[in-house]
């Protein structure tokens, strides 16, 4: 065996370090340092008076106020969601296709956050004429959850469809679709200022997991 000099030893150590460098870079790149969630929707501009001068300011897209009725006949409006993060989706109780799966996934979100008063769930019925308060209550019992945490909402049909538009998701009547309605299977994450912060496919377990990760991020945001 040849005796290695100190110089050779340090050289090989340095070489080793550099050969690990690309791997290290990749590892760091895969860590997400920028944890702030995006704000969806078009920004608008407003004129504001600042120091006696008119200036243009940009404003984030936010959902309008709304007022619907839940499965306990309680009014759900801006006061209900004040200061809270909420997860929204669109469904209807007689939906034979994707809704059961969406409900199963939403139930996971419910189970995780049922003790957290900063998070609530709103499920809007897109078939409000058939989905009476009694029907919504019956549906709640089938899954079994707390109504103050997870509101199933009914109300004026046009208002609900307009709100779906504002959520930037599709919802509508379609006689050819199973159950007579089509709707997006998305779960939508909304922050305390009614700004949309994420869309997640509510029929996919990994996407719903991402939603729960993002709720954690959003809870840390001021």
């Amino acid at each position: 065996m040849q005796q290695t000099t100190l110089r050779q030893k340090t050289q090989s150590l340095v070489m080793r370090f550099f050969s690990f460098l690309p791997a290290l870079c990749l590892m760091l790149a895969s860590c997400n340092f920028n944890t702030r969630l995006p704000v969806y929707g078009p920004k608008s501009t407003v004129e504001v008076m600042k120091d006696g001068r008119k200036t243009i300011d940009s404003v984030d897209y936010a959902l309008p106020t709304f007022q619907f009725t839940d499965q306990d006949s309680n009014r759900v409006d801006s006061n209900t969601i004040h200061g809270k993060i909420f997860v929204a989706d669109f469904f209807f109780t007689s939906c034979p296709s994707i809704c059961p799966k969406m409900m199963k996934e939403m139930d996971l979100v419910y189970e995780k956050y049922k003790a957290n008063k900063d998070v609530i769930i709103l499920s809007y019925s897109i078939d409000p004429n058939r989905d009476s308060v009694a029907r919504l209550k019956h549906y709640e019992k089938k899954i079994g959850f707390e109504s103050s945490k997870w509101h199933l909402l009914t109300g004026n049909k046009d208002s609900i469809y307009n709100l779906a538009d504002k959520f930037l998701v599709s919802a509508g009547e379609d006689p050819d679709a199973p159950g007579g309605h089509i709707h997006s299977g998305n779960f939508i994450l909304v922050d305390k200022h009614r700004r949309i912060r994420g869309y997640y496919d509510g029929t996919k377990e990994d996407k719903v997991q991402k939603l729960m990760d993002d709720i954690e991020t959003l809870l840390k945001e001021n």
């Binding site: 034979p96 059961p100 799966k101 409900m103 899954i143 079994g144 029929t203």
Partner: protein, 143 residues
């Protein structure tokens, strides 16, 4: 002993091991999977669950479900035209509707495979149905 000799000595064993793992892999993936499993996964598992467990009181279970096991003869019609009346499964009432699979164009072979898969996996039954049997059941459907 030097490294070269060790490698020379171990090489045949390594090759045999790799071949054995390869054969086991083909055997375990190829012959055990039931032909109806893919059909079940693609068409049924979304609502009835990966293991036939159902969803709370929204979607009835299939795994060890008394209703399904007792009514195998009506499954082809249920899949073709959907289910639109309340049923009692393992003492729980289910009053939702099931999507008619006619729109998905499942044929008699696929349905026979799925029923045989459920017979074996969920109903502990050795009964095997044929595509011809599925067609016979379809003729008796009360639409």
């Amino acid at each position: 002993m030097n490294a070269k000799k060790i490698i020379q000595y171990l090489a045949p064993f390594t090759i045999v091991l790799i071949i054995a793992v390869f054969i086991f892999d083909i055997w375990s993936n190829g012959s055990i999977v039931h032909p109806g499993q893919a059909g079940y996964k693609a068409n049924c598992s979304e609502c009835h669950g990966e293991n036939g467990e159902g969803i709370k009181s929204l979607v009835p279970p299939l795994n060890h479900a008394d209703f399904a096991a007792k009514n195998i003869d009506s499954i082809p019609c249920g899949l073709k035209f959907g289910l639109n009346h309340p049923i009692k499964v393992n003492d729980t009432l289910f009053d939702g509707t099931m999507y008619p699979f006619d729109t998905l164009k499942l044929d008699e072979v696929q349905i026979a495979n799925i029923i045989n898969f459920m017979n074996k996996e969920y109903f502990n039954s050795d009964r095997e149905v044929t595509p011809q049997w599925v067609i016979e059941q379809w003729k008796k459907c009360k639409k």
